[in-house]
């Protein structure tokens, strides 16, 4: 495939923020320390993809590779750390990603003898209880401040790249140093944009769609491009992965982008990243915006084939509803949290509004937090008839 050509084989990421992935190991729910540490990293300008607690080594390594992070930070409190860190290192090596650093810490269950053994095996550093947060920040800056050694993968983006190659190319695409020629003919998949105000349940809805997608076809592959807000040159918490259950799967490629000061719900690199994802052999690409306001209209036709606006019933008055411009642009409007008292009113008001548009827009009510919700089933059938 020659749809893409790289303008620059050299690492293009010199000035971008340090990207880290943090997580708590499987069967461990101690997230108090990692929450504090995440905030500290973000305060110092890092982009932290937080995977949450009770995460397997496989989930952690998959996410780290897909997110093209510089290092993985693991906070372990209830034992088994020697084996767990070893498994993470091992999986990184097996996937050709040994250049992603691993560091960690936790409760006093990690003895200095353990730490010594773990560091010998390749863990960058183990922090003990009582370590000042500043010391961790300094360590991360010094150890992981430089760009990854690995060059961009050889060859050109093809129809079915490995997670590792795709992730590296996405980094270049985000930075604008990877140009991809636009040949529409080679796009065979469906790209769906998902937007809506913060707290409406976009991430949950996407994860529930992922469950149905993976079940419906045992071979199909899914890409998710998710956005979280950040300011130019500042850190960000990219936390969508932490609340996802079903999207932690080898057939799902997920990438989190910080907006880095861009308004409108997407990032400057979104279009380029999407072009790349559309050519990477996925059957479905979902793009999630940051929580948007009334004026946002993040998706043009060149970005997404279909757009979904996810709303919660508590948007306020009918007047407020009139101001939401996405209501005119979206192909599907989802009223999530339709178990709330105001849901029926909301559905009625939105339906009237859509009828006025005369565009055949669909309205679906969902309770995405419920397992096997019929509304989500209906939405899935609408996307994949």
């Amino acid at each position: 495939m020659k749809a893409a050509a790289m303008s620059n084989r050299q690492s293009p990421i010199a000035n971008r923020p340090i990207r880290l992935l943090t997580a708590v190991p499987i069967c461990d729910g101690h997230d108090s320390a990692i929450n504090t540490i995440n905030l500290e990293f973000i305060r110092h300008g890092m982009e932290v993809i937080y995977l949450g607690y009770h995460r397997s080594a496989r989930d952690i390594v998959r996410a780290a590779i897909q997110e093209d992070v510089r290092a993985i930070g693991i906070s372990s409190y209830n034992g088994g750390h020697v084996e767990f860190f070893a498994e993470v290192l091992d999986l990184l090596k097996k996937n050709g990603a040994a250049d992603i650093g691993v560091f960690g810490g936790g409760g006093g269950t990690i003895t200095s003898a353990d730490a010594h053994a773990m560091e010998k095996k390749g863990v960058g550093r183990i922090f003990f209880p009582g370590t000042p947060l500043a010391e961790m920040v300094t360590f991360v800056r010094e150890a992981y401040g430089r760009t990854r050694k690995g060059r961009l993968p050889k060859g050109t983006p093809n129809r079915r790249p490995s997670d590792y190659d795709l992730a590296r190319w996405l980094t270049a695409a985000e930075a604008g140093s990877l140009q991809i020629a636009n040949h529409k003919s080679q796009i065979a998949n469906l790209t769906v944009g998902v937007t809506g105000p913060g707290g409406a349940g976009k991430t949950t809805l996407i994860d529930e769609l992922a469950l149905r997608f993976l079940k419906a076809d045992g071979n199909a592959r899914l890409a998710i491009l998710s956005h979280d807000p950040s300011l130019m040159g500042k850190g960000a918490l990219l936390g969508d992965r932490a609340t996802m259950i079903y999207s932690q799967d080898d057939r799902v490629f997920m990438r989190s982008l910080a907006t880095r000061g861009q308004t409108g719900g997407l990032s400057q690199g979104t279009a380029r990243c999407l072009q790349l994802l559309k050519r990477s052999g996925f059957d479905l690409v979902l793009v999630e915006t940051v929580g948007t306001g009334q004026e946002a209209m993040p998706f043009g036709r060149e970005l997404a084939d279909k757009t979904i606006l996810v709303m919660s019933p508590d948007y306020g008055s009918r007047l407020q509803l009139q101001k939401i411009v996405m209501l005119d642009a979206a192909d599907v409007v989802v009223v999530n949290k339709s178990d709330l008292a105001a849901a029926k009113t909301a559905a009625a008001e939105i339906e009237q509004r859509l009828a006025l548009n005369q565009r055949g827009q669909k309205l679906i009510s969902t309770v995405a937090k419920c397992h096997r919700d019929e509304g989500v089933d209906a939405l899935f059938r609408l996307l994949f008839p």
């Binding site: 499987i26 069967c27 504090t36 088994g80 419920c370």
Partner: protein
């Protein structure tokens, strides 16, 4: 006394604003129960003040209360200390002023009397006068004890069981069993408390992907009913003086079903009704703090309610839920937050069970509580205030009878307060916390071991922790002679009032959000706990919160302590896998059918717990949770 039964739905605002709200769709008619609790607590405060005024103004009432006071004083039995001091068994305030007496009797209550500020029961840690004690009982345990040459059992004749309850769990079931036997050699009554390993806590089998390193770490590995038989081997499960506590939440119904099945296997079906103990099963605090919930909240609550419904009918001596603030506090909450979230969770459960049609007076006496006790000054009175809130709420909002008003409390000293640096200081920290716990009249107590910052405690430090309790209760004269010797100091009362206001404010906030469930969806409790945890860390960082040996008086030469670390050896982990494999192979033919029967009960709305008791005969923990996940989904983490 006026029994106010308050309506659950708040009145419409009188100014017509409800119409505006309703039209805008923003007004939610279903108000939370917490608003009624706040009203009831405030009403109780006003009631007490009215009583104070009445006895001061009305001679008839004054005479009556003074007469009662004199009778109380005269009626208290006396005890003679080893030094010859003659003391009353019950310490009462030294006042003869009728108003103050009314404030005490109505506002705090005598130990064992509403609102139970001074204690759930009249005699907590008092030792009896006579030689009659549990050693005269005909029970198996008493017989066993009398065969052991233990001078303590001859000396201490506590009127009730000793409050010491030590948490243990390590390695495989056999290892923990051995630790249990070791621990109870030092206890007069057998009160076991079980810690489970990570895979068990998350409902996974030991052969699940990526958990090998966690098998038997930090708790015991339980995969099957056979492990459960091994875990309590040698203990008389149906004995009236034997009780067991299990600290597990997400998969609690499966684990308790295994316990019931194991008891039936060993002692026959009649044992089930005699089983005595507690299972934590507090799913709300998992969502708010501890993160060990595995099924979605609605499904979790349904499984829990099925279990509660079963135990209150068939296992009348069982406590099917331990409403816990411990993990909330350990996750970083302030003491006020700990108390407020624990109490509000408790009221939410009561509301939930009632909606399912359970009778308050049947289930309320089977609810128990579990709080953390740390070094902050709030712990001088935290449990006292909690007892009052619970009693007032249960009586005045839910109409519970006296047994259902009792806040029965297990306390554990703070794990978070222990540090690795100069770790032997942890003995002192725990001792201070223990003292606070007993001043607060806890019903049972676990004291942490000093080496816990590094390891599952070694026997040496477990012994120190256990004996700290014995020193406090048996050796020192503070608790065994006189009830309430340390209650009611001016400082304690000031702290009580501050706590009360703090808890009421938290209740109001949760109510504003629509109640406990709605607040959870808003991530309210989680965000507050996280913010408090962050503040705590910052305070340690900038030394405004002194931690001796860490940010103050730090020994520059302090090296990592040479403490023996208890780990589960590889061969043992492998043994657990082998056992599990054999179990699965042996039951291969029945597993599928047993799981299908379980599915049927889940889908048809039957009692899942009653079915689980049969399912565990043929299926492992992981097989069962796997099937339940298919049916009800996974819990979606909140971060």
């Amino acid at each position: 006394m006026l029994q106010t039964f308050r309506p659950y739905v708040r009145k419409f605002p009188q100014d017509g604003s409800w119409l505006r709200c309703a039209l805008e769709g923003a007004w939610k008619p279903a108000m939370s129960i917490l608003a009624s609790i706040v009203d009831a607590v405030e009403a109780h405060g006003r009631f007490v003040e009215r009583q104070v005024a009445r006895v001061r103004n009305d001679p008839k009432w004054r005479d009556q209360i003074l007469k009662r006071w004199r009778t109380l004083r005269a009626g208290a039995s006396n005890v003679t200390t080893p030094t010859g001091l003659k003391l009353p068994r019950l310490a009462l305030p030294q006042t003869n002023e009728s108003g103050e007496i009314a404030r005490y009797l109505y506002g705090e209550g005598l130990p064992g009397e509403f609102p139970f500020v001074n204690g759930a029961y009249p005699e907590m840690y008092l030792e009896g006068d006579s030689a009659a004690g549990i050693s005269n009982s005909k029970s198996q345990i008493a017989n066993r004890k009398s065969q052991i040459v233990n001078p303590k059992s001859k000396v201490a004749n506590r009127k009730s069981e000793e409050p010491t309850r030590l948490f243990a769990g390590l390695g495989l079931a056999d290892d923990t069993n051995q630790r249990f036997h070791y621990l109870t050699r030092q206890q007069r009554s057998i009160r076991l408390s079980t810690a489970f390993d990570g895979p068990t806590l998350y409902g996974l089998d030991s052969d699940a992907e990526g958990v090998f390193g966690k098998i038997g770490e930090g708790g015991v590995a339980i995969d099957t009913v056979e492990d459960m038989e091994r875990l309590y081997a040698g203990f008389p499960l149906g004995d009236e003086h034997f009780s067991v506590s299990m600290t597990i939440n997400g998969p609690a119904p499966v684990i308790l079903a295994m316990y019931v099945a194991a008891a039936r296997r060993r002692f026959g079906p009649d044992t089930v009704a005699k089983l005595r103990g507690t299972i934590q099963a507090d799913i709300l605090k998992e969502v708010q703090a501890q993160n060990e919930i595995i099924f979605p909240l609605d499904a979790s609550l349904r499984f829990l309610t099925d279990m509660v419904e079963f135990t209150i009918t068939h296992m009348p001596r069982w406590y099917p839920i331990s409403i816990s603030g411990y993990h909330i506090a350990e996750a970083g909450a302030t003491p006020v937050q700990q108390a407020a979230y624990t109490l509000s969770n408790g009221f939410a459960y009561v509301e939930w069970f009632r909606k399912r049609g359970l009778d308050v007076n049947q289930f309320a006496p089977r609810l128990s509580f579990f709080l953390d006790c740390g070094l902050d000054i709030e712990y001088l009175a935290l449990a006292r205030v909690c007892r009052k809130f619970w009693a007032v709420g249960m009586r005045d909002v839910f109409g519970a009878n006296t047994k259902g008003q009792l806040f029965k409390l297990h306390t554990q000293t703070s794990g978070r307060s222990l540090i690795a640096q100069e770790f032997k200081n942890n003995v002192t920290r725990t001792a201070v916390e223990l003292m606070l716990a007993y001043i607060n009249a806890t019903n049972s107590c676990h004291s942490n071991s000093a080496d816990e910052p590094f390891t599952t405690p070694n026997e040496e430090y477990v012994r120190l922790a256990a004996q700290a309790q014995a020193i406090l209760l048996e050796e020192s004269g503070l608790f065994k002679f006189m009830m309430n010797a340390l209650s009611g100091s001016p400082g304690m009362k000031i702290v009580e009032r501050a706590l009360e206001e703090g808890i009421l404010n938290e209740f109001r906030e949760i109510d504003r959000l629509g109640g406990v469930r709605a607040a959870i969806e808003h991530r309210y409790q989680r965000s507050q706990i996280q913010a408090a945890a962050h503040r705590y860390e910052q305070q340690i960082n900038d030394s405004t919160r002194p931690i001796i040996g860490l940010n103050r008086y730090r020994d520059a030469g302090d090296k990592a302590p040479a403490v023996k670390v208890i780990r589960t050896p590889r061969q043992k982990k492998q043994l657990q896998l082998d056992r599990l494999m054999k179990f699965k192979r042996r039951h291969r033919a029945e597993t599928g059918r047993a799981l299908d029967e379980l599915s049927q009960v889940v889908e048809s709305g039957g009692n899942v717990f009653a079915q689980l008791i049969h399912t565990v005969e043929h299926c492992s923990l992981g097989q069962i949770t796997g099937r339940l996940h298919e049916l009800v989904g996974h819990y979606r983490p909140s971060v």
